[in-house]
Amino acid sequence: MENKFELVGKRPTVLTESKKRRTLRGKPVISVSFILVLILACSFCELFMPKDPTYMDLYNADAAPNGEFFFGTDAMGRDIFSMIWYGGRISLFIGFFATVISVFIAVIFGSISGLAPKWVDSILMRFTELLLSIPSLLLVILLQAIMGKANVLSISIILGLTGWMSMAKVVRSEVRQIRESEYVIAARCMGAGFWRIVWKHLAPNFVSSIMFMAVMNVRSAIVAESTLSFIGMGLPLEIISWGSLLSLAERSILSGSWWIIVIPGVFLVLTLLCLTNIGNHLRKAVNRKESNL
């Protein structure tokens, strides 16, 4: 093709940027790499942790950051540097696991509601609205009370059970829009079951719209876990997570040990910030026209 015609007056295209740079431009490179490094470091923390995070070195309790304890120690003499990596594992696990549960419920519930006849759909939607109207903190506290003593799994399940509602609504409206399309009807005529239709035909359509919500769900699950553990309704002190690590902070205010509050908190906030950046990137970019002002 190129040799048959000669384009006259074509502006020479100058490729100054390398291909690699172009594919990465506008993408949250720093955030993704931070999260990846964090996940790697937390999963393999045994390799480089200088101390045992559960060991209570009472002789060195409340020590300020120094050469031996990079980030200091808490009121029980545990090394904060080691605890951050060790506890990050649990915090991240809860964030991701809770999200997996939420997404699973949301997809199932949303698909059922979207495919169901109108009256079932409206009952299911009223139900989600009712659930949404209970303040989520109270709901979590109530569920936590039923499940008894908190552990990593029970907290993830509770957070997963309380976080799916708004995602389900999005799935439902997407499904309702495509449920009458030819390919879905065709699949149904050929005898495809519920799961096959959801997985093969519906899911590819709503994946992009719930990706953003899923990433935000990881973020809010991590916040919820740390908040719960902080007010003493989540993980107990022995199970180290960023939340239970910070639950000692209230006491350390009185002794003025700032490092117990600030250092784990900075890690927490940085993680949340990176997740937000990734989430915002996943949200469909709005195509802005020129301003009329």
Partner: protein, 337 residues
């Protein structure tokens, strides 16, 4: 749109409100009774462990804990309708009295926080939209994203650490210093830090909404017309664009009440501020059923009420919302073609 009789219209809304409240109370009641943990402990303290079987039975009988759940719910609901929500096992007082003492504090904190957030978010949003893509807008967006990522409890801790412990400027806990209960200035001083947390935490979310709505609005045709008429940029934004986004902003704020309320609960706990948020976490921990139920009901009622208000605002302004179901069906049909 067919004009409905306002009595029928508001009657329907009231019915929905009461129905939701009933389901909410049912759910909260059963969940709290199914939870493990001994409510006798919160009433009698550690003495429960020394009680004999007969004494336990007598105590359970007295508090009505040994009957079947539906019977317990029926009695609770009957009493509740007469304004009697039972006694708080921990405080040995009427649950409504315990809450009555504290709800004022929460209302002050939540109310002022809400108003400040409301006004500041609007201002910030306008500022960002006015200077779209200039450095100020970019800076505010960056800072805003960061502040919205900070968990409430951690922000509270850091503020206490800086202003209360290190600088010794502001009190970091309680609603008033001991013996100063009626001192207005002292109370205000105690409010500064919790309020700062409420505002900082929620501000950007709403400001960002205002910014985005305004940016959409600014791209409308009428702005061009205004400009052709010679109106100044400021006039166009304040006189025309702002008026168009106000309704959706108002309904957004109505929906936001539960978010701000939930945040207040955590903040109260960190600042040991004697409001119902602190009471809620406390009563959940001590299995103080009657108190917990009443708090859940009050919070739930506020949330449902706010949702209904938001719905009413939306429907008043945009009658299409009322027929949203039909529109949706139309869309589905079109897509199916």
């Amino acid at each position: 749109m067919i004009r409905e009789n306002p009595f029928v219209y508001y009657g329907k809304k009231l019915f929905v409100f009461l129905l939701s409240l009933f389901i909410l109370s049912l759910a909260v009641f059963f969940i709290s009774r199914l939870a493990p943990g001994d409510p006798l402990v919160s009433y009698y303290g550690d003495r429960v462990e020394k009680m004999s079987v007969e004494e336990r039975e007598w105590a359970e009988n007295k508090l009505g804990l040994n009957e079947s759940l539906p019977v317990q719910y029926g009695r609770w609901a009957k009493n509740a309708l007469c304004g009697d929500f039972g006694i708080s096992y921990k405080y040995k007082m009427e649950a409504s009295e315990v809450i009555g003492e504290r709800i004022g504090n929460t209302l002050v904190l939540g109310g002022i926080g809400f108003l400040l957030t409301f006004v500041l978010a609007l201002g910030l949003g306008i500022l960002c939209a006015y200077y779209e893509d200039k450095w100020l807008d970019k800076l505010l967006c960056r800072v805003g994203t960061i502040t919205s990522c900070i968990p409430e409890f951690w922000l509270s801790l850091v503020l206490i650490l800086i202003f209360s412990v290190n600088l010794n400027l502001l009190p970091g806990s309680g609603a008033y210093s001991i013996g100063n209960k009626d001192d207005f200035g002292d109370r205000m001083l105690h409010l500064v830090l919790p309020l700062a947390v409420v505002v900082i935490n929620h501000l950007w979310y709403y400001a960002y909404m205002v910014r985005n709505k305004l940016l959409e609005e600014v791209r409308a045709e009428y702005v061009l017309l205004g400009k052709a008429k010679g109106l100044s940029k400021r006039k166009i934004i304040f006189r025309h664009c702002l008026r168009n986004i106000m309704p959706s902003y108002l309904s957004l704020m109505a929906i936001s009440v539960p978010h701000i309320m939930g945040g207040t609960y955590i903040i109260e706990t960190v600042f040991s501020y004697p409001g119902i948020g602190k009471l809620a976490t406390e009563s959940a921990r001590y299995k103080d059923y009657n108190l917990l139920m009443l708090i859940c009901l009050i919070s739930g009622a506020v949330v449902i009420l706010c949702n209904i208000i938001a719905q009413i605002i939306n429907e008043r302004i945009d009658p299409r919302m009322r027929e949203s179901r039909h529109i949706e069906e139309g869309e589905v049909a079109e897509n199916g073609k």
